[in-house]
């Protein structure tokens, strides 16, 4: 997009949308949407509040532990599925089914089994994110050029060498894609989990703000959460771009 | 060895007469973004009805030159004249054959071959009939309803050729058309191409890597050097085409020309 001859980077379109938001808010067109500046104003208040700090802490905890679990198990499982055909066939069906299922429906069962606390949130994060990580890891490993494997064997590589020096890098682009998607889904999981549990975390805060019609606070919190999701995703995308130079030439 | 065509002594045969060349490339310079100069002051002429090859090392800008003549790229400076008028973009008098075949994988051989006509609004019955004709000329009868993925590389390129011939353009532009084809089939294709063109009066420009190919098929060979791409020489092999293809490929004349061009290219590679 160019204006007066200067090319404007695409990220600036978000600023334009903020402007639109401001105008819509000032005109009072939708009661749900206060002016953008008001939302910005509420942000320090929201982020400084004790309930936010508490909610963020518990969210980070659940997300961190859940993702650590799903990354280790997901990548491990995916690599196994990619290298051993039988396991790939066996587990593949389940991974595919769960990867595209509305796992939200499972959360009430988790609540019934594990209660309204941290463990439910951790399991929710795990359940939401592990499948796509495993699937992409499997694809990455399956797509490794057999010549690379043969080459390393012919030069005397041990099994450990094979995995660490060849397979890891050859599968890295798909692995990273899977991790990025897994991070996004894990975050969706923790939020959905909290929305359904309703008494803890960000979900509770969202419910609270919307119930009390504190719209500026609601949107401020939303922006914080959305921005974090976007940053996490872009962080991984950055690494994806760094390896993309060899992604197509494998 | 750096004669420009304007004051050059044509080797092998007298230069063709005063007829306006089908294509005239005049001082074409091409700069790409990032300061890369792909072509510098490239000039040559394509006499009407003749087959001209462009040969040179990788990166010398042969394909870029072809695309400029095709009107797909605009040169930074210089001009390309087709029948005396400047080229502004692709035109109905020029048809292209692509190195990677550029066939639509979701369409049948028949539709692919008729595509040039389809884009010109030729009614379906007519364009399919024409396409069938050229498919037959390419010895692909029976494959009209097949899809590209069901064909070998050589067959796919024949579809590309049929497509280019079906629009009956005066000028045929071929971008390493036989590069992706098996070696054994490649020779046959070269012979078939000559036979195909013998009846027509088309002007053909043919980009290739292979000196043998260039000498075998061409009336004129434009030799390019790289860094940036320039015309280093234009020669006319003028080999005797009587006798079978095997005779030709073993004739001393043919081998001499191949050797001469090879020596010239080698000098530029070593510079």
């Amino acid at each position: 997009m160019t204006l007066g001859g200067y090319k404007i980077p695409i990220a600036f379109s978000l600023l334009v949308w903020c402007l639109v938001w401001e105008v819509v808010g000032r005109l009072g067109l939708i009661s749900l949407i206060p002016p953008f500046t008001e939302v910005l104003g509420a942000m320090p208040e929201v982020m400084g509040s004790a309930s936010f700090v508490e909610a963020a802490a518990i969210t980070f905890q659940a997300y961190g532990i859940g993702m650590a679990l799903s990354l280790t198990i997901g990548i491990g499982l995916g690599i196994l599925m990619g290298r051993v055909r039988a396991i790939g066939e066996l587990m593949g069906m389940w991974v595919n089914i769960f990867e595209s299922s509305p796992l939200t429906a499972v959360v009430p069962a988790l609540i019934a089994l594990l209660g309204f606390g941290l463990s439910t949130m951790i399991v929710t994060v795990f359940v939401f994110s592990v499948w796509v990580i495993a699937l992409d890891a499997q694809v990455g490993v399956e797509r490794v050029n057999p010549s690379l494997v043969e080459m390393s064997r012919s030069f005397g590589a041990s099994k450990r060498d094979l995995y660490v020096k060849i397979l890891f890098f050859a599968a890295l682009p798909e692995l990273l894609a899977g991790i990025r998607l897994g991070l996004i889904r894990g975050l969706k999981g923790v939020i959905i989990g909290q929305l359904l549990i309703a008494v803890v975390g960000m979900g509770y805060l969202f419910e609270l703000y919307s119930r009390s019609f504190l719209m500026a606070e609601f949107w401020a919190l939303l922006i914080v959460v959305f921005a974090s999701a976007f940053l996490a995703s872009e962080a991984v995308a950055y690494f994806e771009r760094k390896v993309s130079y060899y992604a197509t030439a494998r | 060895m750096t004669d420009t065509p304007r004051n050059q002594q044509q080797e092998g045969e007298l230069a063709t007469g005063r007829e306006e060349p089908a294509v005239r490339v005049v001082d074409v310079t091409m700069d790409f973004a990032g300061g890369v100069r792909a072509l510098e002051d490239v000039s040559f002429a394509l006499p009407k009805g003749e087959l001209t090859s462009i040969i040179g090392p990788s990166g010398c800008g042969k394909t870029t030159t072809l695309k400029i003549i095709a009107g797909l790229i605009q040169p930074t400076s210089g001009d390309v004249l087709v029948d005396g008028s400047s080229v502004m973009g692709p035109g109905p008098e020029r048809a292209m054959v692509f190195q990677d075949f550029a066939l639509m994988p979701w369409a049948t051989v028949l539709r692919n071959a008729a595509f040039g006509l389809e884009l010109r609004g030729v009614p379906r019955r007519e364009r399919e009939a024409t396409a069938r004709e050229y498919i037959a000329k390419m010895n692909l009868t029976g494959f009209e309803d097949s899809y590209p993925h069901q064909l070998s590389g050589g067959m796919r390129q024949r579809v590309g050729l049929a497509r280019a011939l079906a629009v009956d353009a005066d000028i045929l532009l071929m971008d390493e058309p036989f590069a992706s084809v098996d070696e054994q089939i490649r020779r046959k294709f070269q012979e078939d191409l000559l036979e195909l063109l013998s009846g027509e009066n088309k002007t053909v420009i043919f980009v290739t890597h292979s000196i043998e190919e260039a000498v075998y098929v061409s009336d004129q060979v434009v030799i390019m050097s790289r860094g940036p791409g320039r015309v280093s020489n234009v020669v006319r092999p003028g080999i005797d085409r009587e006798g079978g293809s095997d005779q030709i490929r073993r004739s001393p004349e043919y081998l001499d020309w191949v050797e001469r061009i090879w020596v010239e290219l080698r000098d530029y590679l070593e510079q």
Binding site: V16, A86, S100, M202, F230 | P90, D100, P105, W106
Partner: protein, 261 residues
């Protein structure tokens, strides 16, 4: 492999279909065992769940529930399908539309838009429209972005070819760009359907107690765990089957050899 095991048997055992059947049986057996232990009072065994499932199937509970869940899902996915694909195509073709639209959808796709669902009631109440909106909200980004990618990933070679043969702008879009991108567009629809299910379930669990979501909530409140699990199982199965059917269709129409990318 020990030599006394015939090759026939080995092949039969490692045959993918056998493995799948085996894995299902193993999982069901584990489930049954876990339910009988029981690992938790809230965890019913497989047989208990199936009994409840059968009951709800026969007495029309499922029928009633799904007749409330499916319509907003279908309407939502159709709306997003048509509108989203169009939006993605426009974004792919028009640099201006791309500039305005792309960052928004990229952010939306990465973010937990589920957080917005509770707000929906303020605008759309707790009825049909609210559920449709939830479906649209969750499925739109993936559909739009996939269509966009389908349009922008047209192989350069084919575009050049069409230019060389004098295609005008509309011919180029209609005969090359759209057919080449149709694979990704359809994949986007499939992913959008999967997300749509999530939206419908979420809406039913949070804002409007109807349909399958309500079954789940209701039975949980009653501690009728076999019935709750049966309801959950039903929606998981339903979603998996629909998405798989769509995937099969996709693979038949857009066979890999016929795809440009």
């Amino acid at each position: 492999m020990p030599s006394f095991v015939p090759v026939r048997v080995v092949r039969a055992v490692t045959d993918p279909r056998t493995l799948r059947v085996l894995s299902v049986l193993v999982v069901l057996a584990l489930w049954e065992w876990a339910g009988r232990v029981p690992i938790s009072p809230a965890f019913p065994s497989f047989s208990q769940t199936m009994a409840a499932f059968g009951e709800m199937l026969v007495d029309g509970t499922f029928l009633d529930a799904y007749s409330e869940t499916i319509p907003p899902l279908v309407v939502g996915v159709l709306l997003t399908g048509l509108g989203g694909v169009l939006a993605g195509i426009v974004m792919g073709l028009s640099p201006r539309a791309e500039w305005f639209g792309l960052p928004v959808f990229i952010v939306l796709q990465a973010s937990p838009s589920a957080a917005i669902v509770p707000l929906i009631t303020f605008v759309y109440g707790i009825g049909f429209a609210a559920k449709v909106f939830a479906v649209v909200l969750l499925s739109a980004p993936v559909i739009v972005l996939n269509s966009y990618r389908g349009i922008t990933n047209t192989p350069r070679s084919l575009l050049e070819m069409s230019d060389a043969f004098l295609a005008n702008r509309w011919q180029r879009i209609w005969k090359i760009v759209l057919p080449a991108g149709s694979g990704l567009i359809f994949a986007g629809l499939r992913l959008g359907l999967a997300q749509g299910f999530t939206g419908a379930v979420l809406a039913e669990l949070i804002i409007t107690p109807t349909g399958v979501g309500d079954l789940i909530t209701f039975y949980r409140a009653q501690s009728a765990y076999p019935y709750m699990f049966a309801a959950i199982l039903s929606i998981i199965l339903f979603a998996s089957i629909s998405v798989t059917l769509l995937q099969r269709l996709e693979q038949r129409i857009f066979r890999p050899e016929m795809r440009a990318t």
